[in-house]
């Protein structure tokens, strides 16, 4: 079990993480969500022992990690945001190096390397230089490297950034296999659909604070009865042209992405006519109209007033 108690980290005047506390039970997968700069990576860095918190504790199975060489660190595997590999070395040599950092050697290390290469789908490229790999192959190897020493807890810091769809599916296949094996996953992302697909529980962080921490359904219920009207506007106006919609009764939030206007409303029956009437009165035409239940994106928008991506 992984437990964070009141983690706090400040860089000068900037409070990066403020009183972050949550528990991850064994075998659980949690999604750590938030926009860029929300404090996700700082939190993961403190869990992994890369950063010393100003206050608070990280407990693993009830014990605090004491010092750099504490064997408790073997229970964790870190997949950094960057592809942390030596391009000049082969896939096998990279794995051998990082396995050795956990004291692995001999036949045990060789077996672990073979298993990791199979998992990453790179057994046929084991002796090739990593420099010759595609971005997706590097990402898969990056993740396999963290698994060599068979950690109980896997910390994944946005492992699918910049990955092609095929490699993303491969990574997800691996993660789902880890879940089946009972491993504990802490998965940071700002891709809401990934969190919805993978995670048992969602922890939303914004401005360094936990603003939601519950199951996916429970988080959705934090913004009760919210529905989303999606309207494809043909003649959108200048920046902020839709601000007037926010003043309408029952409208929770309004956002736009390209030409797609997303209006979160409490009551679909009451609010929809008002929204459409406002658009008609102001001369905005639309070519497509749809509605859907609130997703994480909408929840985040409702909780913070900001979109997760590109915030």
């Amino acid at each position: 079990m992984l437990e964070l108690r009141g983690l706090h980290k400040r860089y000068g005047d900037l409070v990066a993480v403020e009183e972050v506390s949550f528990v991850v039970r064994a075998g659980e997968t949690i999604g750590l969500l938030g926009p860029n700069g929300a404090g996700k990576t700082t939190t993961v860095s403190m869990i992994a022992g890369l950063l010393r918190p100003d206050r608070g504790q990280v407990l693993i199975d009830g014990g605090e990690v004491r010092g750099e060489t504490d064997p408790v660190k073997r229970k964790m595997g870190l997949v950094p945001q960057e592809t942390a590999l030596h391009d000049e070395l082969s896939a096998r040599d990279n794995l051998a190096l990082f396995g050795a950092l956990y004291g692995m050697r001999g036949p045990g290390l060789k077996r672990a390397i073979d298993a990791a290469l199979d998992l990453a789908g790179l057994a046929g490229r084991a002796r090739d230089q990593v420099a010759t790999f595609s971005g997706g192959m590097k990402r898969r190897l990056n993740m396999a490297t963290a698994l060599l020493h068979d950690p109980q807890i896997l910390l994944l810091d946005e492992p699918t950034v910049g990955v092609d769809p095929q490699s993303r599916n491969a990574i997800f296949g691996s993660l789902e296999e880890f879940r089946r094996q009972g491993k504990t996953l802490v998965y940071t992302t700002h891709y809401m659909e990934e969190a919805e697909r993978l995670c048992d529980r969602i922890v939303i962080i914004d401005h360094g604070k936990v603003i939601a921490n519950d199951s996916l359904d429970a988080v959705r219920r934090l913004v009760p009865e919210v529905n989303v009207i999606e309207i494809d506007i043909e003649n959108a106006g200048a920046d902020g042209w839709y601000a007037g919609l926010r003043l309408l009764r029952d409208v929770e939030s309004v956002g736009i992405e390209d030409s797609l206007l997303r209006v979160a409303v409490r009551d679909l029956t009451d609010a929809t006519p008002r929204v459409l009437e406002w658009l008609r009165e102001h001369g905005y035409r639309y070519g497509h109209l749809a509605s859907q239940r609130a997703d994480l994106e909408t929840v985040f928008l409702a909780l913070t007033g900001r979109k997760v991506r590109n915030s």
Partner: protein, 433 residues
Amino acid sequence: MSFTPFNALVRRDLHLFFTDRRAVIMSFVAPILIASFFGYIFGGVTNEAAPSKIRVAAVDQDGSGMSGKLVAALSADQALAVTAEPLDQARAEVRVGHTVVAAVIPKGFEQHAARAFVRGMDKPEIQLLYDPSHGPELAMVNGMLTQHVMEVVSGEVFAGQNSQKYLDSGLQELNRTPGIDPAIKRALQQMLGAIGQLNAGARANPQAAAAAGGFSMPFTVKTEPVTARRGQAYNGMAHAFAGMSVQFILFMGIDAGMMMIYQRRSGIWKRMRAAPISRFVLIGSRAASAAIIAMVILCVVFSFARVVFHVRIEGSLPGFLLVCAAFSIMTAAFGLLVAVLGKTPEATRGLAILATLILVMLGGSWVPAFLFPQWLQRATFAVPTRWAVDGLDGMLWRGLGFDAALAPVAAILGFAAVFGALAVWRFRWDTSA
């Protein structure tokens, strides 16, 4: 405590270094090539080859017998390559750098020089036109010219065909000159008269006249290079290889530091710090691999120098190895310091290379430190490269014993300790988002 992570990190660094073609060329080929070039310039394998002569133009505007003898004497000098040229051509040759010095012997030189020799008055002026980029050669030519003028003029005054005329002229001037102490005047008159009698006797006996010949240098010079042992020729390659090894090993140290900066940027550092290994393993392995690479470079470069240029360790072999080991450790600490102080790889590389070039220049890697001004020679003991070059020189061609290696080794290790302590103190361990 398991050494598995430490060994793996050292092996990784060695693998990365030796598979990097640029690093290998810079660390092995470049010092050998440049040291060979510098070694050749500064004396080559032995000093048996004739040194290059200083090119001198002689402009004889007097056209007298004395000036002709002076030009002949200069031409016969082994250190000079003399050509007789008119003034304008000589000046043009100096300006374009084909000639180092032009000596202009003025009209009336013979007459005035002889008189000035006897009475010290009305001295003729020999003009030296020189290339300002060859200051040291000017001083050498000036000295040699003085020697030959004294020999030729004294020969002419004391034993030349016009000797009596010069003496008579000198006596007349002496008698005309007022204010001389009577006792001194009398002594000078007696001396000039005695020389005249001597010359008269010599003319009666030509063999004796030839033997008289005027002034000459009252000594001869025998040179002997003081090297490791008597009779051992100086090998200019030894110093060149010591200097260039020091320079390029420091460059390797910069690369070692740069690698750490790149690792911090790539996320590899995060992965390493997430593992249950201490910071001393992380830093120590980096330092150990840099030191090993430095030792390998020194061994390869000096093996090449031994085989191709016969550079021998004339002094203590253990002392030589100790100096090499100390400098390798210092290089590792220097690399760590580069990694710590550097913000971006681009800026760090530029500054580190500049610092290294200054260090090797002050250390005497390019030109021997004895050519520096005295204050600078003293100041250079504040840089580790001076101790390294001196230590290597001492064990190589100076042939000094093990004891002589101890001071350089202590100094180099002192610098290593300071650099290492600074690196550990300033190291940013935390890895933020």
